[in-house]
Symmetry: C2
Subunit: 193 residues, 2 copies
């Protein structure tokens, strides 16, 4: 990180089978924006393998001595199969997601992962989106389904998939730093139009 | 890879300081398309750290016993600082890039990395693009500078930066498998419009 722009901190959770671009695009753009971000493995091992056989070593594991969700201001859940089902099966993570939402703290999910939020009751009566293959789970759990690439509803950000990872990550930047910080990022990544 | 769709093989080179999204978007989309792809470290260590402090363990190193560029049909150079300068300083890699181009085999580069091709003489009198901060190197070396997100000129594919990584990777898929394979990928990544 060239210069830190906030005292807020974001955790991107990584399970085996995560969609690596969905997770790492958030890391990339938050790093560029100066927002502290950690990759956090949900297994005791810090090294995870993505759904496309990419091996990534995370900054931390939720099973590390002294790890606490309370160190973070937003929890980010990438998709991927079986990455998203693995996140869903992680009880400490799903409990934290629910507690974060109840406290009005940030929760963001993309692709298959918004279905985890839906099943936790986080999206009930709220606008949200997900990968088309998982949108029925949102509807079944009372979400107001949207077809835009990214939906921001207060503390909750949801998005559709790998090809919407950049707009998803930019909304996370906007959440913490506002519009000007998002505009500042665009030339460096050559995001035009 | 769910099913292999070609006997061609692609190498994505990784140096310390690589732009991880530019490299891994190629891995992700080729994996989805069934095109065999290896991440290849240019250091003796297979583990590299990206320009945004993401730690990735590659499939191979160019210094591995028995490694040969001849196993590949396309060499892919991601950008990133100091990733791209590190690739440029790797003599076995730059010699292979030049030889590949002379043999009409595939070479692809994005962001800062097309400047490496330009300095090797690969882009002389050819249409190409790069990150705006590196386009002067293309012009100085006789390239025909284009401002579109991706330029395909026969065996050579060049692109602008992190936010053009998906169209860049899709042109690599098109190079090997044609238009239908590219269209087949779009729903899975939720690439609309």
């Amino acid at each position: 990180m060239s210069r830190q722009s906030t005292d807020k901190r974001v955790a991107v959770f990584a399970a085996n089978g995560l969609e690596e671009i969905e997770g790492l695009t958030v890391v990339d753009l938050l790093f560029r924006a100066g927002i502290p971000v950690d990759t956090v493995s949900i297994t005791p091992e810090r090294t995870v393998t993505s759904s496309h056989q990419v091996t990534i070593t995370c900054d931390r594991s939720i099973e590390d001595e002294g790890f606490s969700f309370d160190e973070y201001d937003m929890l980010v859940l990438p998709g991927g199969i079986p990455g998203a089902p693995n996140l869903k099966a992680c009880k400490p993570l799903t409990a934290a997601v629910k507690a974060f939402d109840q406290a009005g703290k940030g929760v963001a999910a993309i692709c298959a992962a918004p279905s985890i939020l839906a099943e936790l009751g986080v999206l009930t009566n709220r606008p949200a989106t997900a990968n088309p293959g998982f949108q029925h789970v949102l509807v079944e759990n009372g979400a107001i389904l949207s077809q835009v690439p990214v939906v921001v509803d207060g503390n909750v950000i949801t998005s559709k998939g790998m090809a919407t990872a950049i707009p998803f990550a930019l909304e996370i930047v906007r959440h913490f730093l506002g519009d000007a910080a998002v505009e500042d990022l665009k030339p460096g990544i050559v995001l035009e139009g």
